[in-house]
């Protein structure tokens, strides 16, 4: 397929790995923010092609993983309410809440439906005027344009049986939080290419300057990822700390301005609790007061929920890049994709699920 085959060329992949090894004269720790990139790295074995002195650590860019447990518990409460059709992206259904998950609500007779797009949830609301239709609007900047447009669509159509449970998070505050952590090891970042498709990369310059780290906007195919790593290593070796774009066919400095405008019309910046990490200031978006009628948290009684996470799961340490999945005692034993203790084992973008799927028979880390 166009824009895919040329970025999976095995000769180019091997040559890039050789060039990275040639340029890297010392040990560097680089974080790929996006869980989609973590899975691509594992699936294509890119980490095993890299020289020993380049360590990749996996970041918090997994929307399912960072959605806080209290939101999952609220989703379960709402989905269990009579007369509700609860709609969600598929990955959220197996994410463990304090006691159960959305799948178990469905098994007990709740009407929980997987949708591909929030516009599908709007269509369900139009077809079922006597039901309350709730959409679980989670995600990073990549889902925000779709979720914001769905809310506007509901407003324009005058739908009064539609609302959203929002857990919308942003990458730049997470990078700030990781770099401010006293145990931080990350020296360079691969910024998430598709987040930057929406937002551009103008927000990243102050981060690169403040913390003196190179940040490279990176795509998702093997050649894209190694190209991003090469740019990052090249800057690290030269002592440079700029923002570079290694995914120019898709990303521009400004991003998608029309999408940013719709996001700003519907959402306002707010503090967000990241599962396993904690509250990060101004790290997400919430529904603006003028659209409060579409806020499921105001529409349903969910204020009294007490949540508690697994005491064994170390997902927070993994999402911060401090630990690798196989360093968890529960990994592959108590915690598997079938019986996950934490969301990082559930999601198609979670680091634990990637290690389980592609590295279950090894120690997990090719460089120990």
């Amino acid at each position: 397929m166009k824009f895919v085959a040329e970025y999976r060329n095995p000769d180019r992949v091997r040559e890039l790995a050789v060039e990275i090894a040639r340029q890297a004269t010392r040990r560097w720790v680089i974080m790929e923010i996006c869980g989609g990139q973590t899975h691509a790295i594992m699936r294509h074995g890119l980490d095993q092609l890299l020289p020993e002195n380049i360590e990749l650590v996996h970041g918090p860019g997994c929307p399912v993983c960072v959605t806080p447990i209290e939101l999952v518990d609220k989703a379960i409460r709402i989905a269990s309410t009579q007369n509700v059709i609860f709609t969600s992206y598929g990955d959220m259904l197996r994410v463990p809440g304090s006691k159960e998950d959305l799948f178990s609500v469905r098994a007990s007779g709740g009407d929980v439906r997987v949708v591909y797009s929030p516009l599908d949830a709007i269509a369900i609301a139009r077809q079922n005027p006597a039901k309350e239709v709730v959409f679980f609007a989670i995600g990073f900047e990549t889902t925000a344009p779709a979720n914001a447009m769905a809310l506007l669509q509901a407003w324009e159509l005058g739908l009064n049986n539609f609302s959203m449970l929002v857990s919308q998070v942003r990458v730049p505050p997470a990078i700030h939080s990781i770099l401010s952590h006293p145990e931080n090891r990350v020296q360079g970042f691969l910024a998430a290419g598709h987040v930057c498709t929406v937002m551009g990369y103008w927000e990243y310059h102050p981060l690169a300057q403040k913390f003196k780290v190179p940040i490279v906007v990176t795509g998702f195919e093997p050649v894209d990822i190694l190209n991003g790593i090469l740019h990052c290593v090249s800057m690290l070796e030269k002592g440079q700390y700029q923002v570079a774009n290694a995914y120019a066919r898709t990303v521009s400095e400004r991003g998608n301005v029309a999408a940013q405008e719709v996001i700003r019309r519907v959402f306002q910046e707010s503090d967000r609790n990241w599962r396993g990490i904690g509250v990060i200031k101004n790290s997400g978006w919430s529904i603006k007061p003028e659209f409060a009628a579409y806020n499921a948290e105001a529409r349903f009684e969910v204020g009294d929920i007490q949540s508690h996470d697994s005491e064994i799961c170390i997902a927070g340490e993994i999402l911060l890049g401090n630990k690798k999945p196989h360093q968890c005692a529960a990994f592959g034993v108590l915690c598997t994709p079938q019986n996950p203790l934490g969301a990082t084992m559930v999601s198609s973008e979670g680091a634990c699920a990637a290690y389980y799927q592609y590295r279950a028979r090894t120690t997990g880390d090719p460089h120990g």
């Binding site: 040559e15 040639r22 992206y89 797009s117 990073f140 990549t142 779709a146 598709h194 498709t197 998608n256």
Partner: protein, 82 residues
């Protein structure tokens, strides 16, 4: 969720006041909202996230990236033969 797949726009139309399109992902055709890519035309390649096109993929930038990569990698090959 952040994994966008490149697809080719094969049809553009209006539905419920939104600009929509049919996108061909290597044989599988799905509907997507084109509201955020007003410049899109039939034949363009676009990246789709949760049913929304978020940009038009630039053929020119793609070529430039590949040419630049070839230059870096060829330079290295030349160096190693000296």
């Amino acid at each position: 969720m952040c994994l966008g797949v490149p697809g080719k726009i094969i049809d553009i139309y209006e539905s419920n006041g939104l600009r929509m399109g049919k996108i061909d992902f290597g044989g599988v055709v799905r509907e997507a909202c084109l509201a955020y890519v007003p410049e899109a035309k039939i034949g363009d390649y676009t990246l789709i996230h949760v049913g929304f096109a978020l940009n038009i993929i630039s053929e020119e930038e793609s070529q430039q990236t590949l040419e630049l990569l070839n230059q870096i990698l060829e330079m290295e090959e030349d160096d190693s033969t000296v």
